[in-house]
Symmetry: C2
DNA sequence: CACTTCCTTGACCGGACGGTCAAGGGTGCC
DNA sequence: GGCACCCTTGACCGTCCGGTCAAGGAAGTG
């Protein structure tokens, strides 16, 4: 499982560590995890190999740390964006918009998430982080269902549907087509809200549907 | 770009080639592309290393062929499923259902698609295949918009929203949670159709929205 | 100054990997 | 049989990679 080394670090040490995480994340995303060697990372930073193994016990551990920190920060941003918005549907909207913004700003990390999902050693770690975020979203959806705003379907499925739209649109429209995150977010929100609310016909209640 | 070797193969040769593609695809998906060595592939098939390099000029070329053939087959299945259904909205539904079924049956290939997206050498190849499939879907969406069944939004965005829902739900609900493809497809179809059709309020025409 | 702790260097190691190739077996055709 | 062609073998090669470590510099503390 590769437990993280927790050395006591000075200011200087924390800065070096940050450099390594940052630079390695970019190289891993651009070049692939396996094709990027430790030698290349330290050369890119102009330091000796020993520096790497002073801060991390292996390349694998470094990747794990990158993953963990990225997931942590994404969640932090989402929580902050949602803050204390009372309406669950609007919380979901804000979550989508914030995700889109964040992914636009950290596309290299998104690539690493994708890669992590394809290797067994990392997919577990990724999944644990994902489950936390999904848990958050599921709560909002459940609340929306309770309030009659959202169709009464398995909240987990709905959550993943929203997640799928957001991630895929971010990747294709923002990264590949170079679209503006805000506009893509508008489209994603529109699609998801209608998808969540359900068919118009029975439309009995709810202040948006 | 690693052009495929086109040798003239006998019956026996074609069978060997198929074995290599099949087995390597499974190992790549289970173990990762880079961590799976050519030596391991040929050992798993009980043949010498020369066999590999008789049929493929490099490991990279083999992976490219796996990708190409998988995309080709997925598209073939989708086209066949849609066949000559006249209603565009229903064509999309059938496409979603068929994708879900196919992904459920070929989850290892899905993993390889994901991996390919993370390495520059392969992402181009992947994208070219994706564009073809997206082009198909966009046509159906455009037709739906023309018929007033689908909201008048950028068809490419709508297509990718649907694709995102389908792929993500397949991965999470079918692969990870072990849900039944048919039920997941039901949920995906419901979500996407409402997402495509748009908000209920103005609801002027169309026989489903 | 001495002494400790934190950090850095880069040559080095064992092993694994992708790829090559000379040699040979098998099959079918004349 | 003789010959051509398709396929297979596995030892071998050069390279590169993750990781180690003895040695030494810098910074802080007394």
């Amino acid at each position: 499982m590769v437990r993280p080394m927790d050395r006591r670090l000075t200011q200087r040490g924390r800065e070096r560590r940050r450099q390594l995480v940052e630079y390695a994340a970019r190289r891993f995303a651009e070049n692939g995890y396996h094709p990027t060697s430790v030698a290349e990372i330290v050369a890119g930073l102009g330091v000796g190999k020993g520096v790497f193994y002073w801060y991390f016990s292996s390349k694998e551990e470094l990747f794990g740390e990158i993953l963990r920190e990225a997931q942590q920060e994404l969640r932090r941003c989402q929580q902050q964006a949602i803050a204390d918005e009372p309406d669950p549907l609007r919380r979901i909207e804000l979550g989508i918009r914030e995700s889109m913004r964040w992914l636009g700003d950290h596309r290299h990390l998104f690539t690493l998430f994708q890669f992590a999902a394809t290797e067994e050693r990392f997919s577990g770690m990724l999944r644990r982080g994902e489950e936390v975020a999904v848990g958050d979203a599921v709560r909002h959806i459940k609340e929306g269902i309770g309030a009659g705003q959202i169709r009464d379907t398995d909240p987990t499925v709905l959550t993943h549907a929203v997640l799928g739209v957001t991630n895929h649109l971010a990747r294709v429209m923002i990264f590949e087509h170079g679209a503006a995150p805000d506009e893509v977010a508008d489209a994603a929100v529109a699609f998801c809200l209608d998808g969540l609310c359900g068919p118009p016909e029975p439309a009995p209640a709810g202040h948006r549907c």
